[in-house]
């Protein structure tokens, strides 16, 4: 007890300090008073295309026709994406391309964005095109570029400008400066000539890549180069060829015994995945274009075809009738762990993995009609985008927002190409010289 008092004081002091420190810490973590700011959550909006004004580009050197044509190509690209509504060009004033526009006037026309451009010629004959994209509401410039090119490339320049506008207003890469390879069909039905052809994504600048002396099927663009892989019936068996779109040169990939079907490139462009028929069963193989090694990925007595890689190259989606009817399956790229992802009524085929990786497009046959639809890779969220007498062969735009396919309608005599967006509401025919089928979209063109 003798020593109890002084320690007791220390204890008191200690306890007091501990309590004080704890209380201080509690005070520091206590809720703070709110600022006098009115805070609201906005969770609903208008899901609709952006109203955009694209008055005719000014013709600096008197090339009024090129200026008008370029304006039309840009407007056409944007409206077909489904994300923009260009205002009626005939009722728009023509602003000077060098001055800041009168925003109040454009706001009065209900435009949210304004494209002002000009086209002229350089002394050396090159085309000079420039544009500015204005935010009419905020009154500021969003983008502005100038391009020089040969006069014959005016369409390409127009597509590049449309891509720049699309990217700045949606946050996504544009897809207008791209090409589509397809099978051009001409002649009477019993003597149909099928030629491989390539065109701009809007149907312009068609070039033929083969002569039409042999049947061509399922062309597919390489994701990394200007090569197209396709099947051609020359001789007894169909063979897989590679064709350089820019030079027109082609080479035989390999001669595989038996029937070979539907080659498609891997995302790195080094391999193709295809189906080979051997002993009554059709299985999926991958073929290394450099080492010429063939590797079997599936091993069933069923028919496995239509393989398509995921954009990361880790998985493959394909169609198979191993379960009785044609359904879609996803497996690892080495062929392991196949999982069925479609369970709906009808049969599913021609799966194509989106370049974004989030969806798989397919053709579905049910009750005498063919539909184009999309489904998530885990098998959920199936949506039909269009349905009719015969729709088939979906292919994705490089940004994964638009699907092109071919449609055969009774009485029309042959198939035509169409595009549709992921809402299913914006559907447009792609103008081709004749009938067309089996479209395949190119990667972005540099």
């Amino acid at each position: 007890m003798k020593y109890a008092k002084p320690p007791a004081r220390r204890i008191v002091r200690l306890c007091g300090m501990v309590i004080a420190a704890a209380a201080f810490a509690m005070a520091a973590s206590a809720p703070r008073p709110a600022n006098a700011v009115l805070e609201l959550d906005i969770t609903q909006g208008q899901i609709k295309p952006i109203p955009i004004a694209i008055p005719a580009f000014a013709a600096l050197g008197g090339d009024a026709q090129i200026a008008a044509d370029m304006t039309a190509v840009i407007a056409n690209d944007l409206v077909r994406s489904g994300l923009f509504i260009p205002l009626d060009a005939s009722r728009l004033p023509t602003p000077a391309s060098t001055a800041v526009p009168s925003f109040a006037e454009w706001r009065g026309l209900d435009a949210q964005a304004l494209v002002v451009g000009a086209v002229g010629r350089e002394p050396d004959g090159r085309l000079r095109a420039e544009f500015r994209l204005w935010d009419v509401v905020a009154g500021q410039q969003l983008a502005g570029q100038q391009y020089f090119a040969g006069p014959e490339s005016w369409r390409k320049v127009a597509h590049i400008i449309a891509d720049a506008i699309y990217e700045r207003l949606t946050g996504e890469k544009g897809y207008f400066n791209t090409q589509v390879v397809f099978v051009d069909e001409s002649g009477p039905k019993d003597r149909r000539v099928k030629r491989l052809a390539v065109m701009d994504q809007d149907g312009a600048n068609v070039r033929y890549l083969t002569e039409g002396d042999s049947l061509v099927l399922t062309p597919r663009f390489s994701p990394t180069s200007q090569y197209v892989a396709y099947m051609s019936y020359e001789g007894t068996d169909p063979s897989v060829y590679l064709l350089d779109v820019t030079t027109g040169q082609r080479r035989l990939v390999d001669r595989f015994p038996g029937m070979s079907l539907a080659p498609r490139f891997s995302p790195d462009g080094r391999r193709v995945v295809l189906s080979l028929e051997r002993g009554g069963a059709t299985n999926i193989y991958d073929y290394d274009l450099v080492t010429r090694q063939l590797r079997r990925l599936t091993d069933t007595a069923a028919i496995d075809v239509g393989a398509s890689y995921s954009p990361d190259g880790a998985q493959i989606v394909f169609e198979s009738d191993r379960g009785g009817s044609k359904q879609l399956y996803v497996m690892n790229a080495d062929g392991s762990n196949p999982q069925r992802i479609t369970f709906g009524e009808g049969s599913y085929g021609t799966p194509v993995w989106s370049p974004r990786g989030d969806l798989i497009a397919f053709t579905k046959q049910q009750g005498g009609s063919f539909s184009i639809g999309v489904i998530k890779p885990d098998g959920s969220g199936e949506r039909i985008l269009t349905t009719g007498f015969h729709n088939e062969g979906p292919t994705w735009s490089p940004n994964g927002r638009i699907i092109m396919f071919f449609r055969d309608q009774p009485g029309e005599g042959g198939p035509r190409l169409y595009t549709i967006d992921l809402t299913g509401y914006n559907q447009y025919q792609v103008a081709t010289p004749g009938f067309a089928s089996d479209p395949a979209w190119s990667p972005p063109v540099n």
């Binding site: 109890a4 008092k5 320690p7 007791a8 004081r9 204890i11 008191v12 002091r13 200690l14 306890c15 007091g16 300090m17 501990v18 309590i19 004080a20 704890a22 209380a23 201080f24 810490a25 509690m26 005070a27 973590s29 206590a30 809720p31 703070r32 008073p33 709110a34 600022n35 006098a36 700011v37 009115l38 805070e39 609201l40 959550d41 906005i42 969770t43 609903q44 909006g45 208008q46 899901i47 609709k48 295309p49 952006i50 489904g82 994300l83 706001r107 949210q112 935010d135 509401v137 905020a138 969003l142 700045r168 207003l169 949606t170 946050g171 996504e172 927002r401 967006d421 992921l422 809402t423």
Partner: protein, 302 residues
């Protein structure tokens, strides 16, 4: 032995108390509800006709808040109030509402989000809201509230000291520490909104739900969401702007937060466009201090 026990018990108590407070206050993730002010008014205040009557008798009760009292050396006890044996407390702090708004003003200055520091400041009329009428120093030097006095630990609860003077000194030190911290806690707690709703919303809001809804729907009419924006996480954006008293947007809205995705810039532009396009906003002018600065978080439906 006993010392150790006491120290151990005290530290354990503090630790448990600390844990209870800090671990148990995980915020409930309830859906956001705007704070609705509810005011209780006694019917007598409205119906008492004597109130403010010219013929009424003049009350002679001296005001306890009279500054003169605090100057007095020996404040005389209030005659009719039994049991008051302490000196008259110094003038009470400003009324809670003033204190809160003053603290708001101080906080608004001190806690500006980092995202706001870089863009140009809001226009003057917006930035000056709320009016910093009571200056922050007043709040800092505000004397402790009289009702906190009972919290002061009584000397008799402490172990009897050998030297009364020394013990008193310790007690005073500890009491002073506890007093200061308690003052802060009590003041903050009293300012916290006592109703359900968003703590960061508008605790003092006098705006009605329909006025808030009208503002919201007006902006929603102008917010164009491009089709294909299927990932709300990637495009959610928060902007802040000042409003003039006529409902027009003051200056250019500022982006408080936008996603680090490819859609970030586009989302911010889109939200600002919606705000600018839909003005002016029809809001009650008498409640201007409630909507002078608006912060909106745009999140498209998933």
């Amino acid at each position: 032995m006993r010392t150790g026990l006491i120290v151990s018990a005290a530290v354990h108590l503090v630790l448990i108390g600390w844990g209870l407070i800090t671990l148990a206050v995980a915020p409930l993730d309830a859906s956001h509800i705007e704070t609705l002010p509810v005011e209780f008014v006694e019917v007598a205040e409205v119906t008492d006709l004597d109130l403010g009557k010219e013929s009424g008798e003049e009350a002679e009760t001296p005001s306890p808040n009279d500054p003169a009292d605090t100057v007095a050396e020996e404040p005389p006890p209030v005659p009719d109030t039994p049991g008051v044996d302490e000196p008259t407390p110094p003038p009470p702090p400003p009324p809670p509402s003033e204190a809160a708004s003053a603290a708001d003003a101080a906080d608004a200055e001190a806690e500006t989000p980092p995202a706001l520091s870089e863009p140009e400041p809001l226009p003057e009329d917006a930035a000056e809201e709320p009016p910093p009428e009571p200056t922050p120093p007043q709040v800092a030097s505000a004397p402790p509230s009289p009702r906190l006095r009972p919290d002061r630990p009584a000397p008799e609860t402490l172990p009897a000291p050998e030297s009364p003077e020394a013990s008193d000194a310790f007690t005073e030190q500890i009491a002073a520490l506890i007093d200061r911290t308690n003052t802060g806690t009590a003041q903050l707690a009293s300012e916290a909104p006592a109703t359900l709703g968003v703590a960061t919303g508008s605790p003092d809001a006098k705006m009605t739900q329909s006025e808030i809804d009208a503002l919201r729907s007006q902006i929603e009419r102008c917010w164009v969401i491009p089709t294909g924006w299927t990932h709300p996480r990637e495009v959610s954006v928060t902007i802040r702007f000042g409003l003039n008293i006529d409902g027009t947007v003051a200056g250019k809205p500022e982006v408080v937060e936008f996603p680090a995705s490819q859609y970030g810039q586009v989302s911010a532009d889109n939200a600002i466009r919606a705000v600018l396009q839909c003005g002016p906003y029809a809001l009650p002018a008498e409640k201007y201090d409630q909507w002078a600065v608006v912060q909106l978080r745009f999140t498209p439906p998933g």
